[in-house]
């Protein structure tokens, strides 16, 4: 039927049990016996927002160092031992966190916990200048490969600088600068480890083919002896209001098409107003029925791609952006004018009921996908426990989003997502 969905939202009931060790390590268990695998995931409550001035990129460099061996593990052996147990292993660094994870056959669970505990307690015993220098080079190669050597690779950095003050925790990117990477010393690594890599600043999620009591007992065995540290203080970043004065930057590079990027300061993750403004971004720019796609791709055919989305962050504010890449003969300014007009319309008239229903239905599928695998479910649990203090929220996210109505979306937009609250980045083609 037109405008009707054919089924009710999915009710989720993943089992979740929490237990906190005496040293403050929070452990979350969520059993799932469908496959003989288990996901181990540690969220450390440290990200690029915790970096000090002149040390951008440090949290990420540190993440690399975490694979260079610890008291009882030789350099590179953390991954090698886990892969030989049939594990998929990795780690990532972001503004608000650093996460380390492995998923493997259940029989390797003890090994995974032992390895994680070893580096949480004895990383510094194995650290050498040589290891640090090697990983500094690897990280610089990563920066070249992912940012410096690809078209539009500096967009994130430019948008961050437009949206937040330079000394704000979100004023710089996670990859950081080459100069700051060069400046990192062994002493910096020691201090960073002692401050942030303590059991009371971490959440350990164990999801899969293991019962909660068993998971907690093993966590106690391997992590119970670790000593807590002083709880790290989080960077002071009171919520900032929306942008004003429409700051703008222009740049040019060897890119295949001129492009427009707009950004907004948004409320922090965790409140209904973030969820409401997130739905507004989705209606503007997610999927084929979004207003940007319909207008810029299908009707005027002025853009080859266009979209909008939010990036939820916990420290006072989040970040939202839209983009459009121009077709031949179209200027970024024209795309900006058209995008602004679409936002104005959405702001004035509000979303239609159908649009809101679609945005919620798309969220539902995205969220179900996110929880479909034990590894991404473990990561979601770590995220909700670390950033929101409540892992049970993963079961109620769909209901929370479904409950938001049209008025709330419009109200959130009026406060945070007005055209005049944008920053603009114009990307032009360098003519050789």
């Amino acid at each position: 039927m037109w405008g009707m969905t054919s089924g009710a939202p999915t009710q989720l009931g993943y089992p979740i049990v929490q237990y906190t060790l005496a040293n403050g390590l929070r452990v979350i268990s969520s059993p799932d016996h469908l496959a003989p695998s288990v996901a181990v995931n540690i969220w450390y409550d440290v990200g690029s927002r915790d970096e000090e001035e002149g040390r951008t990129g440090f949290a990420h460099l540190f993440e690399h160092v975490m694979f260079q061996g610890s008291g009882h593990v030789a350099s590179g052996q953390h991954i090698a031992l886990l892969q030989a147990a049939g594990a998929v292993v990795n780690a990532t660094t972001w503004f608000d966190r650093t996460n380390y994870f492995e998923t493997l056959p259940t029989g390797g669970l003890d090994l995974a916990l032992w390895l994680e505990a070893d580096r949480m307690s004895t990383l510094l015993d194995a650290l050498t200048q040589e290891n640090l220098d090697n990983q500094r080079e690897v990280v610089k190669e990563e920066k070249r490969q992912r940012y410096d050597n690809v078209p539009y690779g500096d967009v994130m950095e430019l948008l961050n600088a437009l949206t937040f003050p330079a000394d704000h925790p979100y004023g710089h990117t996670t990859i950081g600068s080459m100069e700051d990477l060069d400046a990192a010393t062994l002493e910096d690594i020691h201090a960073f480890f002692r401050l942030h890599y303590v059991p009371n600043n971490a959440v350990l999620s164990i999801v899969g083919d293991v019962e909660p009591d068993d998971a907690f007992e093993r966590a106690e065995t391997y992590f119970g002896q670790l000593t807590p540290g002083a709880p790290p203080t989080k960077p002071e970043a009171g919520p900032l209001g929306p942008l004003s004065g429409t700051p703008r930057t222009e740049t040019s590079g060897k890119v295949p098409a001129p492009a427009l990027y707009l950004s907004w300061r948004l409320p922090a993750l965790g409140g209904r107003n973030f969820d409401a403004v997130d739905l507004a971004f989705s209606i503007l720019g997610h999927g084929q029925t979004s207003r940007l796609h319909k207008q810029l791709i299908r009707r005027t055919e002025h853009a080859e791609s266009a979209g909008a989305s939010t990036m939820g962050l916990i420290g006072g504010n989040s970040f939202g952006f839209s983009y459009a890449r121009a077709r031949d003969g179209i200027s970024p300014e024209q795309l900006e004018e058209e995008t602004v007009e679409l936002i104005d319309q959405l702001l004035t008239d509000g979303p239609t009921e159908d649009e809101l229903r679609r945005a919620k239905a798309q969220f539902e599928r995205h969220w179900l996908h996110e929880l479909a695998r034990v590894d991404s479910r473990a990561d979601a649990l770590g995220e909700y426990a670390t950033l929101h203090g409540d892992p049970y929220l993963i079961n109620s996210r769909i209901a929370d989003i479904t409950a938001i109505d049209k008025d709330e979306v419009q109200t959130a937009m009026r406060e945070w997502f007005r055209p005049e609250q944008r920053a603009a980045l114009i990307y032009r083609q360098e003519r050789s």
Partner: protein, 454 residues
């Protein structure tokens, strides 16, 4: 220092097998494979069409891609905006996948919405409007996409590499989505004709995986069972062949890194050497501490990561060492690579074989634990003409690989002196060092593959 527990041993892995599908056949002959996966709330549906890319006319290559991408731009029953709105209202995602051996239309949807979403999915595949305006737009978007690819170092390398290692008349030598000259020739008439000639129930398989609210066969019959196409033409997949060895340097002036591909023509999964070559390539360039990554990343710090990959096709395939290195060290990285990939004096060890087998065995339950993981693998198997229990069989074969077999298979495929090289980077700084490193016959080209002098 407190006492530390000794490193725990690994308990033996539980027996695991790839899920077995229930089979059915719709009244028009479409084969159905149903994987019941408890707890998988998002259903994954793959409609696999036996339409190899060599079904495209040589002068309009790209027509299959444009056709597939225009499927969800409106149907005979619903215009473009309306169709997309209906689909998204169901929380559904629609996608297409094109490989040399065949096409797939893919639907992801929460289980409670499957029935209605499957009707819309069937509409898109069986009666798309393929309107002039939509086709023409997708042609322009494909051309823009090629421009994007030609601005991206890694993509330039991959495109140039396939052009070199496959014999040039074969479809495999050119981009799946078509090259600019042929994409420009794709007209709405050609797209309509391609759909009319090649889309139909014959040879088509519908794969459904997930936690179903009700038996999905009746819904599938309602949506797809009455689809007929008496004019449907079946095309036999072309077998790729090896090209002539080349050494190509593609110039990106000022680039801070160079993308490297060093490899050649490979083998497919039905080759008796496949399990042995899988083990060998994991040891050479798959594991984190593989021979290549341990030296070039962890010891030298030359790269964020270097891999050796084997990419099987239905018949034949390709293999390559690939990585991105800062300009100053590219020649040295290649010299080291050539030494490392020569195994005559350094055969694979039993430890390397054990680690590879443990890795492949261990990651399988996770990889195939989700609806899309299972459906994707089942589709891959159909397109490569592999048996239904392929995953279980191949894991069993892996366990029987010996170090000698791995070394022997590797040496029979990888001849370090006969490999094709593609480097994408700053030619002015790279050309001489590369020539001096043992690649004397360098051709220097621009990113759109025109020859240039340097």
């Amino acid at each position: 220092m407190r006492d530390f527990l000794p490193r725990p041993a690994i308990a033996p892995a539980a027996v695991w097998t790839f899920p077995t599908p229930r089979r059915a056949r719709l009244s028009n002959g479409i084969e159905m494979m149903i994987f019941e996966l408890p707890g998988q709330h998002v259903i994954s549906a793959h409609l696999v069409l036996d339409v190899p890319l060599n079904a495209e006319g040589r002068d309009i290559e790209g027509v299959a891609t444009i056709c597939a991408r225009t499927l969800d731009e409106g149907t005979l029953r619903h215009d473009g905006d309306e169709f997309a709105e209906l689909l998204e209202t169901e929380g559904a995602g629609f996608g297409v996948d094109l490989s040399l051996s065949g096409l797939q239309a893919v639907l992801d949807v929460p289980a409670s919405h499957l029935d209605r979403a499957l009707e819309l999915f069937a509409e898109a595949v069986t009666e798309p409007s393929l309107a002039d305006r939509d086709v023409n737009r997708h042609v322009q978007l494909r051309l823009a996409e090629i421009e994007q690819a030609q601005a991206n170092s890694s993509q330039i390398a991959s495109i140039a590499f396939r052009a070199a290692i496959f014999e040039e008349t074969r479809r495999a030598a050119r981009m799946n989505g078509g090259e600019p000259a042929t994409v420009r020739q794709v007209s709405p008439q050609a797209v309509g004709a391609f759909h009319h000639d090649h889309f139909g129930p014959a040879g088509t398989t519908l794969i459904l995986a997930g936690d179903f609210a009700e038996d999905p066969i009746a819904g599938a019959e309602r949506s797809l069972g009455s689809w007929r196409n008496n004019d449907q033409r079946r095309v036999v997949a072309e077998e790729p062949a090896a090209g002539i060895r080349r050494m190509v340097l593609i110039d990106r002036p000022g680039a801070v890194q160079a993308d490297v591909r060093l490899g050649g023509f490979g083998i497919d999964r039905l080759d008796p050497r496949w399990s042995a070559i899988s083990v060998a390539s994991y040891a050479m360039g798959g594991a984190f501490l593989s021979r290549l990554n341990a030296i070039l990343r962890e010891e030298k710090g030359y790269t964020y990561g270097v891999r050796m990959n084997f990419g099987p096709l239905r018949t034949g395939g390709s293999f390559a060492v690939q990585g991105s290195f800062r300009t100053e060290v590219v020649a040295d990285a290649l010299a080291i690579t050539r030494e490392l990939i020569t195994v005559d004096q350094a055969p694979f060890t039993s430890q390397e074989v054990d680690d590879a087998v443990a890795y492949f065995t261990g990651v399988s339950p996770l990889r195939y634990a989700t609806a899309d993981g299972v459906a994707d693998q089942a589709a891959t198997q159909i397109l490569a003409e592999l048996p239904e229990d392929y995953v279980d069989r191949s894991l069993a074969l892996l366990r029987s690989v010996t170090p000698d077999a791995a070394t022997e298979a590797y040496r029979s495929v990888v001849n370090p002196d006969e490999l094709t090289l593609v480097v994408v980077g700053d030619a002015e700084r790279l050309a001489d060092p590369l020539r001096a490193t043992g690649f004397p016959d360098l051709e220097v080209r621009t990113p759109d593959f025109e020859e240039t002098q340097l």
